[in-house]
Every structure is written in C-alpha cells, then in structure tokens.
C-alpha cells in the first residue's frame, strides 16, 4: 500500500514531464515516444526502487536492534 501511494503521488508530476516535452511531428516514428517515456518513467521507478532498498535496510537494521533489546 505504501508503494502504491508513493506511485499515485508521483504520477501526475511524471505525466506532466513526459507529455510536456515538446517535439516535432514530421512523420511517425513509433520508437521516439517510447524511448523518451522510458527515460522519464525509468528515472522515477529507479528512484522508488532505490528508496525501497534503502527503506528495507533501515527496517531490517531497526528490527535487529529491537529484537536484540528484547533478548
């Protein structure tokens, strides 16, 4: 649930960035939009994953600390 709420908060900002990039419209190149979208989405998703890894480490350290105190 926490991950989902983080995603919901970031989503509007992400879409503004993706769709706000101005570009030419000479002819269809289906790959360009996909490429650019990934750069933006990937930066956010990568950051969330990094936060997730960091958060899991903190939680593991805290639970170790508390279980030691209990023991």
């Amino acid at each position: 649930m926490k991950g989902r709420s983080r995603g919901v908060m970031a989503l509007p900002m992400l879409l503004i960035i993706v769709l706000g990039i101005e570009g030419g419209t000479a002819y269809i190149d289906a790959g360009s939009g996909s490429y650019i979208l990934q750069l933006v989405v990937g930066a956010f998703v990568g950051a969330f994953m990094a936060v997730g890894v960091f958060w899991r480490r903190i939680r593991a350290a805290l639970s170790r600390r508390f279980s030691r105190n209990k023991g």
Partner: protein, 462 residues
C-alpha cells in the same frame, strides 16, 4: 541440397531460419558475432535453457550455412506445433508475456537485453512458453532504454488489457495488426476506468500520447543527454510485470463449457462407450500427432495426450480454450496438450509479407490423426457447409480421421434445426459416407451405444 528460407524469418540482418533437407537450422551471421558469443560466455544461454525459458540448440557444421556471411549454424530443438498469438487464450498470452519479461530480467542480470519482444518469438514446448529466437539478444547498452518496450506493449500488454477491460474476442486484433495492437487504438478502445490503474495509465495511455507527441524526433537528441540506469530499466520491467499480473479474465459459463457437464445429449453409458472407442482407435492407429478439431475443453484430446502423443486441441470458444489451458496444461501439467482458439469455418490464413510470414492452419499440417467428434453437424447444418466440402477440408488437414456422425434425430441436431428449414436432404448416414468416401477410405464404423451416433475411422485416399 534443397534449401528453403522460412517465410517469417527475414527482418533481422543478424541471421535467419531455414530448412536444409527438411532439417530446421538457424544461421547466425558474422555481424552478430559479438552478441552471440556474449550469450554463451555470460552464462545467459545456460540460465535460460536451464529454467526452461529458451529452446535449446546444438551447434552444427558451418558447412551447412545457407550464405557465405555465416558465423555459426545451430539446430534448435523443434517445437511440435507453431502457433500464433491470435490463436492463444488469455492465459496463454499472459504467461507468454510474463515469460518474455522473465527472460528480459535474466538477460539484464547477465549484461544483455532483448532486442525485440515479439509474441511470435514465443512458442509452446512441453506445455511452457519458451523463446525460440536465440538471436534476440544484444549486449546491454549502458544508459539506453529498452528498445523492445514499444513492441512488448503492443504485442502483449495492449491486447491483454483490451481483453480484460472490454472483450476477450479483441485478442483477435493481433491477426490484423501483425506488429501488435497500436497503442493509440488500444487507448481509444479501453474504458476510462483503465486509467485508474497506474501501470496502464503509464504504459498504454501516456505511452500512446508520448508516441504521438514525439513522432519523428531523434530520441537521443530529445533525451538531452539523459540516461536510464540499470535500476531504472529493471524498474520498468517490474512495472510491466505488475501490469500484466494484475490483468485477469475469467471464462464465462458458456453453452460450450457446460457441454460435458450437462450431457443432455448423451447417456453416461454412451459417453463412456465413446471414450473407450476413441481411446482404442487412437491406440490402434498410434499416430505421431493428433489434432482435435472442435475439441471443446480437451476431454477427448487428453485421451491422446495420455498416450504420449503431442496433441493440438482447437476450439472456437476462447472460454473452452482457456479452461483447457488452465485445467489440463497448468494445473495437471499435461505437457503434450496445446489448446488453441480456431474458428474452423474461418481458419487462420496465410498472412504477413507476401502472405508467407505466418502459415495457415493447413500449412502447419497435415496431422497424422484428427479427431472430429460432435462437430460435423455444426459444420454441415449450423454453417451450411456441404458434406463433400467438409470432407475436402478434413482431407487437407489430416491423414487419418476419427469422426463422429450425428444424425438429424439427435437432440443436438434437433436444436440446430429448430429455428430453420431443413434444407439438408443429403444429411444422412448414407450421404455422409458417400461424401467422405470420395476423399477417405472408411476403415471402421462403430455405433455408439445408447445413442444414434456412430464413430468412423477413415484414412485419406492417396
């Protein structure tokens, strides 16, 4: 030595598939050398084959190459039956999608990446989806997005989302759009509520809009030096996997899926006798392959698979095919069964470039033995196909045939005739035998007890 390049293998300059004296081979061209070597040296090949995600192959003599720019020639393990995404059920497409993402995840871990994510690169081997295109990998380009992202969304995510949110019959769009469902079309067809799911909002709705906005741009120039970290790339794959995982479709309780449960057309004795007859005839004919035409949820096809025979079970109803896939293949692990969606009155045609890229149903035959049980009345009465034409069609598909004749007096035939005139004076046992005798030798006729139906064993005339 007769050499034949396969119709669907021409777009990739890295190599192609061909047959030499009937032997299926794949050539890897010199231009792909570095990536090919990396596939083995990185351990990716062993990892994927070990996990049953890629078809194994053997390297063969370079003298067997088709052209002079060959670097290697391999002989992949043959897949018993080549099927296409527009013939798969929802669950099959979903499992193929997740296999593709699992392959990409494994590739990234080994410093490689899929160069394409075509659903046609996935086939069914021993009941599991496997990658058949061993040329699909390239060395991971540092900081670059996934080149196959668009293709994955078009080939897998868009049709799955349309099936889950609108109608499962929209999986057939893949037959019209060979490079997958265009995202602007998917966006148009999906309901607004699909935007409430963040993964679909991103990978389909925003993706389609981004495609339109950035059409024709040089993506690297537009990126203005921005790079995608490996963690970001893995995050996109994880996000796609969560999008696919969340999509679901449950087969409705249709007339067809209730067919066996109701059994109002058969007594238990007749059903049991029919099963025993089919089992005996399959055992006697010892076929190398079986096609069950109009096979419903695969109850009779499984008689053949239980005898170790690779069997394809075709049915027009996506619900039946889904049920057969979930129950027989996934739950019971029946590795010999391949259920597929097929309308026999409009079977898969040859399509694609020069109409040779994807084979028709008949091109992929003939089967050694076909089952046509409780089918002929649907074709002849339900679809007005003359019995001679039914016999011609079956003769194109199979060498041997176990076929059930359902007379007009049968409860199921009566239902078909209830709302129409009987314009079928030749639809009798004698008429059936006369029509089929033109294309087949009738070897046996076995009446089914407690019914007016009969089973026939036939062999195609030379």
């Amino acid at each position: 030595m007769p050499l034949e390049r396969l119709g669907g293998s021409f777009r990739d300059p890295s190599g192609f598939v061909f047959r030499r004296d009937g032997d299926l081979l794949r050539q890897i061209n010199e231009v792909h050398r570095q990536h090919w070597d990396h596939l083995a040296s990185s351990g990716l090949y062993d990892a994927l084959v070990g996990n049953g995600l890629m078809v194994p192959h053997q390297e063969v003599d370079l003298a067997l190459a088709a052209t002079s720019d060959a670097y290697k020639v391999i002989r992949p393990e043959p897949v018993p039956f080549i099927s296409y995404p527009y013939e798969w059920s929802f669950g099959q497409l979903k499992d193929a999608a997740r296999a593709t993402l699992q392959i990409q995840r494994t590739a990234i871990e080994h410093g490689m990446s899929l160069r394409d994510a075509s659903a046609y690169n996935i086939q069914w081997l021993r009941g599991k989806p496997v990658l058949i295109d061993t040329l699909s990998f390239e060395t991971l380009r540092d900081g670059e997005p996934w080149v196959a992202y668009r293709q994955f969304c078009q080939h897998f995510l868009a049709p799955l989302a349309l099936a889950a949110y609108r109608d499962v019959r929209l999986l057939q769009l893949s037959r019209v759009h060979l490079d997958g469902v265009p995202l602007d079309l998917a966006r148009e067809l999906l309901p607004r509520r699909s935007k409430l799911r963040a993964s679909l909002l991103l990978h389909i709705h925003a993706h389609a809009k981004s495609q339109k906005r950035h059409a024709g741009e040089d993506p690297r120039a537009s990126a203005k030096g921005r790079k995608l970290s490996t963690r970001g790339l893995q995050g996109i794959i994880a996000s796609l996997d969560s999008a696919v995982r969340a999509l679901d479709w449950q087969p409705p309780k249709t007339v067809w899926t209730d067919y066996y449960a109701e059994a109002d057309h058969y007594t238990a004795e007749a059903t049991d006798h029919k099963r025993r007859l089919v089992s005996k005839l399959v055992e006697e004919t010892a076929p190398s392959s079986v096609w069950d035409l109009g096979g419903n949820v695969g109850a009779f096809a499984r008689i053949a698979t239980a005898q170790g025979i690779p069997t394809v079970c075709f049915d027009i109803d996506p619900g039946c095919v889904e049920a057969a896939y979930r129950d027989a293949v996934v739950r019971d692990g029946d590795a010999n069964l391949l259920p597929l969606v097929m309308d026999l009155t409009n079977p898969s045609p040859r399509i694609g470039w020069e109409n040779t890229e994807r084979d028709s149903l008949a091109d992929r035959g003939p089967a050694d033995l076909a089952l046509a049980l409780a089918l002929v009345h649907h074709l002849a009465i339900g679809n007005n196909v003359p019995l001679e034409r039914v016999a011609d069609f079956f003769a194109d598909l199979t060498d041997k045939l176990i076929i059930e004749f359902v007379p007009k007096s049968d409860p199921k035939a009566i239902v078909l005739l209830r709302a129409r005139d009987d314009i079928f004076p030749h639809y009798t046992a004698d008429g059936f035998e006369a029509a089929f005798s033109k294309r087949f030798n009738i070897e046996r006729r076995e009446p089914i007890v407690s019914s007016e139906r009969s089973l026939y064993l036939m062999r195609r005339r030379a």
